[in-house]
């Protein structure tokens, strides 16, 4: 096993000088939930700022339901944001509404579930061909076939002509996953929003996909937003790491720095919970059976406060903003300080009144 950590890390461009590829400011998405006349709002994403530079892989991690997929969908233009702005290469997406097609050809999405993202009645290559037809109109019929073969070969589906003829039900999960990638690649985008592309896969398929991502980024300069539950794999591919909790970004920074020096208590909790098969320590970590918060009509205040061991009075009143605590490393916590000890284990709290 080769230690490639040196070559893999620190590819991130200097945020000060680089020109952002995609930028989101104050991104907010609320969903109406409940009955026809219900006015309850679910705050799936609240006031998220996010930047993706060219040639960069940004990982987005967080609890289930914290709004990761929603962020990706917002960026892909599937949802119209409740508030906030998405800026692609300096132009606001709202101003591009009428020629969304050109945006579509630059930013593509790989969907969370490879089983539902291929239409079962068509050949799996349907999406690739449609994409070529829509975005590469200069290509003729035969060129398109050649191009499609190239693309599926690229993701490792060989022999290509045979795979182009297959139906989704003839494909394994990993092959579907790669078809999802191939579809996203078909129009040659700058940015791929990959939503948990490995969550349902076994390790072997998982690795292939991860490697493909790093290769594409390194050699072709494709940027990625990599959404995952699997922090280890995020560490493996990503330059920067974003941690979401209950619809908000709570911590952000270069991957290794966040992993080594987690500042937000939630990040600390998350990292402490990742089991390590190679570790020999059999010391049982404390039990935490608290349920994740519901983000229906939340008020002001830190959303982690009910589970937080460092909770102070201000947490109940003021939503903490992201503060830079280490170089390029920001966290949204009133208590966290740059010098705070990072190895504190979170203890179980006496249950506090939850909303």
């Amino acid at each position: 096993m080769i230690d490639t950590s040196a070559s893999l890390s620190d590819r991130s461009p200097d945020p000060a000088t680089g020109e952002p590829l995609l930028e989101a400011r104050g991104l907010t998405q609320h969903f109406r939930v409940g009955g026809l006349f219900s006015r309850k709002l679910l705050h799936a994403v609240d006031d998220v700022d996010l930047v993706i530079y060219p040639r960069e892989i940004v990982a987005l991690v967080g609890e289930s339901g914290s709004g990761k997929s929603t962020v990706a969908r917002l960026l892909a233009g599937i949802y119209k944001p409740t508030a906030g702005e998405i800026i692609y290469r300096g132009r606001s997406l709202t101003s591009m509404r009428h020629n969304l097609r050109s945006y579509r050809s630059r930013v593509q999405m790989v969907f969370q579930d490879p089983y539902s993202s291929l239409n079962p009645v068509f050949r799996a290559s349907h999406g690739i061909f449609r994409s070529l037809k829509l975005h590469r109109q200069e290509l003729g019929r035969r060129d398109r076939v050649r191009e499609a073969e190239k693309i599926v070969q690229l993701v490792g589906l060989t022999p290509a002509d045979e795979y182009l003829r297959k139906y989704p039900y003839e494909l394994s999960g990993g092959q579907r996953q790669r078809y999802g990638f191939a579809q996203a690649l078909a129009c040659g985008p700058d940015l791929i929003l990959a939503d948990e592309p490995v969550s349902m896969l076994d390790v072997s398929i998982r690795t292939g996909v991860l490697n493909l991502m790093t290769d594409l980024c390194r050699r072709e300069g494709v940027s990625f937003l990599y959404i995952t539950h699997d922090i280890a794999s995020a560490r493996y591919v990503a330059d920067r790491l974003l941690v979401m909790y209950a619809g908000r970004v709570v911590e952000e920074g270069p991957t290794e720095d966040v992993l080594q020096h987690p500042k937000h208590p939630y990040t600390q909790l998350l990292l402490s919970a990742v089991p390590d098969p190679h570790a020999d320590t059999e010391e049982a970590p404390p039990v935490d059976l608290t349920e994740p918060p519901r983000v229906i009509d939340p008020g002001e205040g830190c959303r982690f406060r009910w589970r937080c061991p460092y909770r102070v009075e201000i947490c109940d009143r003021v939503t903490p903003p992201l503060r830079t605590l280490r170089p390029h490393h920001r966290a949204a916590c009133h208590v966290a300080q740059s010098e705070m000890p990072e190895d504190i284990q979170i203890r179980r709290q006496p249950p506090l009144a939850s909303p």
């Binding site: 026809l36 969908r73 892909a76 233009g77 599937i78 969304l100 097609r101 579509r104 050809s105 593509q108 999405m109 969907f111 969370q112 579930d113 539902s116 993202s117 291929l118 239409n119 079962p120 009645v121 068509f122 999406g127 449609r130 994409s131 829509l134 975005h135 190239k150 693309i151 070969q153 690229l154 993701v155 490792g156 589906l157 060989t158 139906y167 039900y169 003839e170 999802g180 579809q183 690649l185 040659g188 292939g208 490697n211 493909l212 290769d215 594409l216 050699r219 072709e220």
Partner: protein, 314 residues
């Protein structure tokens, strides 16, 4: 682009043996065929239906007499010349039965199709459009579902009386679509949130393309099942309406045969076949459709498929 990258785990493995000797998976048609062949009920249904269709198509050849002409003594019992006897007007019942299959079939097929199309249009639109449009269309569907169909049908048919087959078809289609729409909507709704549709949108497709080419093909078997159900409903409803005289009694169909037979007390006056035969034929046609529907149901819903396998081994 991306020529110089290949992350192909399979390519790294020099194939030792042909990796899979999978037989090609059969296509949709072949699958329908195999389900029908493997399902005895469906087979029976297909055979009966085929026989009726052939009868309708070749009616001029098959029918021994002009169905409307007076060709024998009134009310004759079955005989060599008139296998099923004659009507009180001396018409050959067998010939009427053969010709009557045409209108009955056409009503079943056309009204079934029309109702299905309405159902698809409204059910799928409701699901896909969502929001207010969905609420509106679903309410309309529910209202049509709740408002009793037969009275509605009678009211409409009564006013348009004498319009014959096409009026019947229209009436049945108007009152018969809601059930299908109600079935289609949830399925379309479940498809709506499938990621391949979002994928198509991210790809840059417009809504019309998505509905017609991405959504509908996924519901073929349900649509077929709805069509068969609607056809069955149409056949029975038309027979009922014709039986109470709301069709055009001058048309010739199994329903009007029942009407005439009943009005001439065929059961009581020695030509029971005048009533028994068309009723049996309607039931047969209905049963054939129901059996095929049964099989399509199994096709659409794999959990209904396949009975217990015999314990062969051990």
């Amino acid at each position: 682009m991306y020529q110089h990258i290949a992350v192909d785990d399979e390519a790294r493995v020099a194939p030792v043996l042909p990796q899979s000797k999978l037989p090609a998976r059969p296509g949709m048609l072949a699958r329908v065929g195999s389900v029908i062949l493997s399902n005895r009920k469906a087979l029976v249904g297909v055979i009966i239906l085929a026989a009726i269709v052939v009868t309708a198509v070749f009616a001029p050849v098959l029918a021994p007499y002009d169905p409307n002409a007076t060709v024998g003594p009134p009310g004759a019992p079955p005989s060599h010349a008139f296998w099923l006897g004659t009507t009180s007007q001396g018409q050959d019942i067998l010939s009427q039965l053969i010709w009557g299959s045409r209108e009955t079939l056409i009503i079943g097929i056309v009204a079934g199709l029309a109702a299905t199309m309405l159902a698809v249009l409204i059910g799928v639109s409701a699901a896909y459009l969502g929001g207010v449009a969905d609420n509106l269309l679903s309410s309309v569907t529910d209202i049509f579902l709740v408002i009793p169909a037969l009275p509605l049908m009678i009211v409409i048919a009564a006013y348009a009386r004498g319009g014959g087959m096409w009026v019947l078809i229209g009436v049945i289609a108007i009152t018969g679509w809601s059930f299908g729409a109600r079935q289609l909507r949830p399925q379309a709704l479940s498809l709506r949130n499938r990621e391949f549709l979002e994928s198509a949108r991210v790809r840059g497709e417009n809504s019309a393309y998505v509905i017609v080419f991405e959504v509908l093909p996924n519901m073929v078997s349900l649509i077929v099942a709805i069509f068969l159900g609607a056809a069955l409903y149409a056949i029975l409803a038309a027979a009922g309406l014709q039986f109470i005289g709301l069709g055009n009694p001058s048309d010739l169909s199994w329903g009007t045969m029942l009407y005439w037979g009943e009005n001439n007390e065929a059961l009581m006056t020695g030509s029971p076949l005048w009533i028994v035969a068309p009723g049996t034929c309607i039931a047969l046609l209905g049963a054939s459709v129901a059996f095929i529907n049964y099989a399509v149901d199994e096709l659409a819903n794999p959990s209904l498929r396949g009975a217990r396998r015999k314990r062969a081994k051990k």
